[in-house]
């Protein structure tokens, strides 16, 4: 159930949403398309689903050419950011839709719908209408609906984007567990790097209609190939011409080799971890992550002039 995207391009009028994009997704994996809005990630997902037609390039699902297939023939499950619940149907009928369309026997439909409602913890809500559910419940219903016809591929377009932070974290957790259970090849779109890092086992970082880098979350964080990936996946500081993660910076009261002079603007204690925000002499703002012990040891205070030294830094060839 692998997915392959080959040299896909797509423009909307004069705007190039996708520019010669290729991507391979292994069967059974959980992949995130991560990027800022307008980077083309949703367009790519919709092209895989058949909801958009590429101007050039091909989509292969399980090794078979699917570019010309209409969405209803692709056997993909799609989950929309705003749920796309069928408002005039009960939760049960929503979930059953894909099976009813396929004219499966009634008993089989009833049994499978009940099982899915259990899986998404909505067994008590089968008779309700979508309007009577909370956002999180609606999205779980949409997931059950997408899973009902046993799709080869599950595609989620910013599935948690419209939900509040707590429900978001809950559903994120739940999606990961679901994937372990069902093992359907899954691609989800998000602009939230934390969400991508937390859930996916492979991330494709997108920017301006192109894929910048594909890799495991730690790989993207530790070995970013481009400045964009460095900045978008995790936090990064610009010091002279290179980039440094906040925890790869040392603060000292004395100047050292390659150190930069900076003034402490703000200190925020987030439990054990402390974030120190500084402004460098050249005006660039710098965030340093230190432990509480180190903070006390150095007796750091707002307004102090200190020296910041990068322990591990990266420079990128200018790409834009």
């Amino acid at each position: 159930m692998s997915i392959e995207v080959r040299n896909v391009s797509k423009s909307f009028g004069t705007f190039a949403a996708l520019d010669d994009v290729s991507l391979e997704v292994e069967g059974g994996s959980l992949t995130a398309l991560l990027g800022p809005s307008g980077s083309g990630k949703s367009t790519l997902l919709r092209i895989i689903a058949g909801l958009e037609t590429p101007d050039a390039g091909d989509v292969l699902i399980s090794g078979e050419l699917a570019t010309a297939l209409r969405p209803q023939k692709r056997n993909v499950g799609f989950v929309f950011q705003h749920y796309a619940a069928f408002k005039h149907m009960t939760v049960r009928d929503n979930v059953a839709f894909g099976l009813t369309i396929r004219k499966r026997p009634k008993a089989e439909i009833r049994e499978r719908v009940e099982r899915l409602l259990q899986l998404v913890q909505l067994e008590a809500f089968g008779h309700r209408y979508p309007a009577q559910l909370s956002g999180g419940q609606r999205q779980r219903m949409a997931l059950a609906r997408a899973l009902a016809p046993e799709p080869q591929v599950l595609l989620l377009d910013e599935p948690f984007g419209a939900l509040d932070a707590r429900v978001r974290a809950e559903l994120r957790d739940w999606l990961r567990r679901l994937h372990e259970e069902v093992h359907v090849t899954t691609i989800f779109v998000t602009h939230d790097q934390e969400e991508a890092m937390d859930v996916a086992d492979q991330i494709a970082v997108m920017n301006a209609g192109r894929i910048e880098q594909v890799g495991a979350p730690t790989e993207l964080y530790d070995v970013p190939h481009t400045e964009f990936v460095m900045r978008f996946v995790g936090e990064a500081n610009r010091i002279s011409d290179s980039w440094v993660r906040p925890h790869d910076l040392e603060i000292a009261h004395e100047p050292g080799e390659r150190s930069v002079e900076a003034m402490i603007e703000r200190i925020s204690r987030l439990g054990f971890e402390v974030r120190v925000e500084l402004s460098a002499a050249d005006g660039e703002s710098i965030t340093v992550q230190v432990t509480r012990d180190r903070l006390e040891e150095l007796e750091l205070e707002r307004g102090q002039i200190v020296w910041v030294t990068p322990a591990r830094e990266r420079a990128f060839a200018a790409t834009y």
């Binding site: 969405p71 209803q72 929309f80 796309a84 005039h88 369309i101 396929r102 949409a142």
Partner: protein, 263 residues
Amino acid sequence: MRRYSLRTVALAYLAAILVGPLAIVFWRTFQHGFAPAWDALSAPDTIHAFKLTLIITAIAVPINTVFGIVCALAIVRRSFPGKGVLNAFIDLPLALSPVVVGLALFLLYGRQGWFGPWFTEHGIRVLFALPSMVIATIFVSLPFVAREVVPTLREIGDEQEQAARTLGAGGWQTFWRITLPSIRWAVVYGVILTTARSLGEYGAVAVVSGRIQGVTETATLRVQQRYESFDLAGAYAISIVLALVAVVVLLTMTLFRPREETA
């Protein structure tokens, strides 16, 4: 206080413009008891006129319903050259006087018209017969379904339809199972308005029908004919029936409305 005075003005205006005339029609009809009214209503020509009105409505409403839904779908869901023109032209019957519509049909289907000679050759009577009256009615009641459905379609968006596609539904299945149920109340309103307009049509039909008593005379034409023949009781009686139908239509709409708001 200001709220009450506003209310009084609104109600007084309604009473003067709408309720007053209706009440007078009621009073005039039954001024001399039920017998004259009943006689007028049971005259064969009157019964024929009502039948004809119903037949025309029964043809025009389904055609306009299908056309209206198709048009609304085209306007909201598709982009094609000439879409703006279509959108503007749908409203034309609202702006155009029905008499002008009748005259236009005369020019098209008359003896010297574009299509007239062809129909005459094939022995089909269009003018002064049912076909032209149906066409005229379809024309004047054309916009209502489309105008009701377009905003609803815009509001519901196309995500539900896309979801249905990814779940395996084809175009027709998506329409019947998702789109139509979502717009059903808009369609119902549109149909009610179209029906009301078709039942009440006068101007265009007056021009093309030739007003032949017992042949091409509809209920509204019959009212005018009775009035001109100084049979006021008859004219009022037929008017009452038409007015009652209008009231029933209004009530149906009010009954439907709250159901849509909770849906």
